[in-house]
């Protein structure tokens, strides 16, 4: 491997992919895609979900073979029969969905499949721990090599993956949306790591949705759309709006949604909500949080991961045992929901944060996913009627603009944006007055996000009271009438739309 690296030092291209075509049953994921990545650059790959970014990277890292086309690494044509071959050629990939064994230690994960051994053939834990500690120190990751990986935060787990890439001495590192689950400070740490890798001559392929990140980090940008290569440009020669335009095939207009919304009467009131956190040094998940929510208003909630956003929404919705103190009042009446069923009956709906894990039913079709909370309405003579169910779901599917081949299509065949619209449609059928949206646009592509914004705005104008959390500040600034900020379980600031800026919110979210 060393040898080939020396020989290829003459070529400027670290990776050349030519005419790559990949078909899956029923879909052409990639069609005649070419990609040239220069040695030592950070090459960003942009595109909507389903554009083929991840598939292209999986071909590069040997997960799939291409149906057509060829691959050159450092000037040498290569054929990868599996990920092992790609590793041998110096390619490491950090998958979007982390591929770590949660029950093994950090060191065991870093050396998984390449364990160091003592002369007797037994595992050499000490050597692995030492090496692992050294790698983690480089990455500013302060966890012990013996820690169970599953107990780490997502940001640290990601660094464990990067440590694995480092231990492979990979010359090409692929990062598939690495910051999608990271807090701002973890993202900053990751960016320092990236800078260090680049300084050592590593080539990085970087997939991201986030334009600010791409424009801060990338040397060159490749845009894919619908499995085809659109263009590759120098960062300096373009701007974010042009890139998103290429990604969706049209330019996205920035809307100022909140203009001219009329605020109605107060619907929900939270006073001094404190949620204890047993066996934790801080002692509470939420402390003395108060807020008001009016009809026809979107209340944005900002905060880093672990700030307590989800916990606050869950306490209101009754998703967990109500061990909180304080008061929650709905229309002035004190409420204390012990089960989501009660909240639902009282007119509160919650679209949960992790769509796949907490929202979707993969074995039910689109209609089944939408009608689930209002099945009583599709009963005819005491039994569920297929026709009544189709009629019931037709309205929310039309109103939320779900694009589906049919109401009985598989929900898993829809894009993330359409799945999310189905879930919102499910809750609209319960005729809620308060809608809690926990990071509804996470993992959804740019075009679908704009549609969701318009949908949320429309619902709000129809008199719904909405609490919206988001890990992307521009989203809150676009949609919300007011923004409250949580930091470490406390409410640290409240801004009107006019006052709020990203800087002020970040300051409140990090320090308070």
């Amino acid at each position: 491997m060393r040898e080939s690296a020396d020989r290829s030092a003459a070529t400027a291209q670290a990776v050349v992919m030519r005419g790559i075509t990949k078909r899956f049953p029923g879909v052409v994921a990639l069609e005649d895609v070419g990609l040239e990545v220069c040695r030592g650059e950070l090459h960003a790959i942009c595109g909507e979900n389903g554009a083929g970014k991840s598939t292209l990277m999986k071909i590069l890292s040997g997960v799939y073979p291409p149906d057509e086309g060829g691959l050159e690494i450092g000037g040498q044509p290569v054929i990868f029969a599996g990920t092992k071959d790609a590793e041998q050629a110096g390619i490491a990939i950090i998958h979007q969905e982390l591929a770590l064994v949660e029950d093994l230690s950090v060191a065991a994960n870093v050396f998984l499949g390449r364990e160091k051994r003592t002369p007797l053939g037994l595992l050499d834990d000490r050597a692995m721990h030492n090496e692992c500690r050294r790698l983690l120190a480089i990455l500013e990751c302060h966890v012990a090599p013996g820690t169970r990986t599953g107990s780490l935060r997502v940001g640290d787990q990601q660094l464990v993956e990067i440590a694995k890439a480092l231990s492979l001495e990979a010359s090409i590192v692929v990062m598939d949306e690495p910051t999608s689950a990271l807090t701002e400070s973890e993202s900053a740490r990751l960016e320092r790591t990236i800078a260090r890798l680049l300084a050592n001559g590593t080539t990085i392929l970087y997939i991201s949705h986030k334009m600010d990140e791409v424009f801060r980090l990338a040397d060159r940008i490749t845009v894919l759309r619908d499995g085809r290569h659109v263009c590759t440009v120098d960062r300096a020669a373009t701007n974010p709006r042009q890139i998103t335009g290429w990604m969706v095939g049209r330019e996205i207009a920035d809307h100022a949604f909140a203009v001219g919304r009329a605020r109605g009467p107060r619907v929900l009131e939270v006073r001094d909500l404190t949620l204890p956190w047993p066996n934790h040094p801080r002692g509470y998940r939420l402390s003395q949080v108060s807020l008001d929510l009016h009809a026809g208003e979107i209340l944005g909630m900002a905060g880093l991961m672990g700030a307590g956003r989800t916990e606050l929404l869950e306490a209101i919705f009754g998703a967990e045992e109500p061990i909180w103190t304080g008061a929650i009042r709905l229309d002035g009446q004190p409420v204390r929901f012990r089960h989501p069923r009660e909240a639902c009956a009282a007119g509160i709906a919650m679209v949960t944060e992790d769509r796949k894990r907490l929202g979707l039913f993969p074995d039910l079709d689109v209609a089944g996913n939408v009608s689930l909370c209002s099945l009583q309405e599709s009963l005819r003579g005491g039994l569920l009627s297929r026709r009544a169910e189709e009629e019931l779901v037709a309205t929310p599917i039309r109103d939320t603009g779900v694009k589906t081949p049919g109401v009985h299509a598989s929900i898993m065949g829809l894009s993330g944006g359409n799945q999310q619209k189905c879930i919102i449609g499910r809750w609209l059928l319960t005729k809620p007055r308060v809608l809690l949206l926990d990071d509804p646009t996470r993992g959804i592509d740019v075009g679908a996000k704009a549609e969701l914004y318009a949908l949320i705005d429309r619902l709000c104008r129809n008199g719904l009271a909405v609490i919206l959390t988001s890990s992307e500040l521009p989203e809150l600034l676009t949609l919300a009438d007011r923004i409250i900020v949580l930091a470490e379980g406390r409410l640290t600031a409240e801004f009107s739309r006019a006052e709020a800026t990203e800087e002020k919110i970040m300051q409140a979210a990090t320090g308070g």
């Binding site: 919705f317 639902c344 949960t352 074995d363």
Partner: protein
């Protein structure tokens, strides 16, 4: 896209996989008719049918229970022990109400019979409740909770049988004879259990496809967390599923008592829970939950019983000797065939690497040994060699294809 198209139309009567089962059942029956040297399917069609129908109905009744539990994302390993307990409860109740008649092999009266059956079903409900409590309140995994009752209930049933006979009859006994005419009538008229199975299947099918509770069962099995957050009282849905599972086993237990004219907690229903789970899995249930149909389970049950019957007809030894072996093989083949499309397309290999090499003699030995035991040493050796040759060819073909 092709997958979503399949969801567009409701398929006629059965789903594609279920039509394959219908075909498999037809083939098994036709083959048995041809190969069986006594040709009993030709000469005694009614007797053969009666035999298969009785066994299918008995297994099917609690396989429907297993189906509901599996779709709800759980598992109930205790059905076999529940059958034993149910029979014992019924017999003990009748013994307590009419000891003289029970011991004298005389009619015990309709009231006592009804009380015995009601007591069994009530105990089914209690066991289902116990399972749900262990799973939702104590938070045991369903496998552990029902494993505990699998071993516990049978032992409990035997203890109950012995202590009640000790108290109510002159001698302590591990079985209680049941010879009431009601039970005899059920034994002699096979269509009673078949009718009960048929009605129960229709009710379960309506429940799963056409009621809110049924939809909630599917949702619970598909994604429990999401189901709770969608406002479904998941604990109550589980409670229903485990009670349904235990009560169908209790119902089956009554038929076993009738069939064998005895409540025998030591052996009745032993291992039957796995047959029920096998029938559900062959019928297309996924042990991951959320997936399964009543027609699938009914066909899976018929298929299992037809194959078991076929083997006993062909090799002329008691089916019970080979029953476990047949169920095992059928489950493996049925689930493998369900993935045949993937196997062909995905380039996946059945005999990869060193594991594949070792699997060839393992499978050939198994085939040879079974053939030797049923038809004699020489055929056994021949069968083993042929199996080895075929597997070696498959291996060669697979390595050619991927190379």
């Amino acid at each position: 896209m092709s997958q979503s198209d399949a969801f567009q139309k409701p398929s006629f009567l059965f789903r594609p996989g279920e039509w394959a089962l219908v075909l498999a059942i037809a083939i098994a029956i036709a083959l048995t008719g041809l190969v069986d040297t006594n040709h009993s399917y030709w000469f005694q069609p009614l007797a053969s049918l009666r035999d298969i129908a009785r066994n299918t109905a008995l297994l099917g009744i609690f396989a429907l229970g297993a189906t509901v539990v599996i779709i709800a994302g759980g598992i109930d390993l205790s059905a076999g022990s529940m059958i034993a307990l149910s029979g014992t409860i019924c017999a003990t109740t009748m013994l307590a109400l009419a000891p003289a008649q029970m011991m004298g092999f005389r009619p015990v009266g309709l009231v006592a019979v009804a009380a015995g059956c009601a007591a069994s079903l009530l105990v089914g409900f209690l066991v289902g409740t116990l399972h749900t409590w262990l799973i939702t309140a104590v938070r045991l995994p369903p496998f552990i909770a029902t494993l505990a009752t699998l071993v516990g209930l049978r032992s409990f049933a035997r203890a109950l049988c012995e202590s009640s006979t000790a108290a109510l009859t002159p001698t302590k006994s591990a079985l209680i004879n049941v010879s009431d005419p009601v039970f005899k009538a059920i034994r002699d008229n096979v269509w009673i259990p078949v009718a009960v199975f048929g009605i129960l299947a229709i009710v379960t099918w309506l429940l799963l496809t056409r009621t809110v509770l049924g939809r909630h069962i599917h949702a619970l099995g598909g994604n429990e967390q999401a189901a709770r957050l969608a406002g479904i009282r998941t604990d109550n849905v589980k409670w229903f599923a485990y009670c349904f599972g235990a009560m169908t086993a209790a119902l089956a237990g009554l038929f076993y008592v009738a069939n064998e004219s005895v409540a025998a907690p030591v052996n009745q229903g032993r291992g039957h829970e796995l047959n029920a789970i096998a029938a559900a899995v062959v019928g297309g249930c996924s042990l991951a939950g959320g997936v399964g149909t009543v027609p699938g389970t009914v066909l899976g049950t018929i298929f299992l019983r037809v194959v078991i019957d076929a083997v006993s007809k062909i090799i002329k030894t008691g089916a019970d000797v080979y029953e476990g072996l047949i169920v095992g093989v059928v489950v493996v083949i049925a689930v493998t065939l369900a993935q045949v499309g993937q196997l062909a397309k995905g380039g996946r290999r059945l005999l990869p690497g060193a594991l594949g090499l070792c699997a060839i003699p393992t499978l050939s030995l198994l085939a040879g040994a079974v053939a030797a035991m049923t038809t004699g040493g020489r055929t056994g050796i021949a069968t083993g060699l042929v199996a080895a040759a075929l597997l070696a060819l498959l291996r060669l073909w697979e390595s050619r294809r991927t190379a």
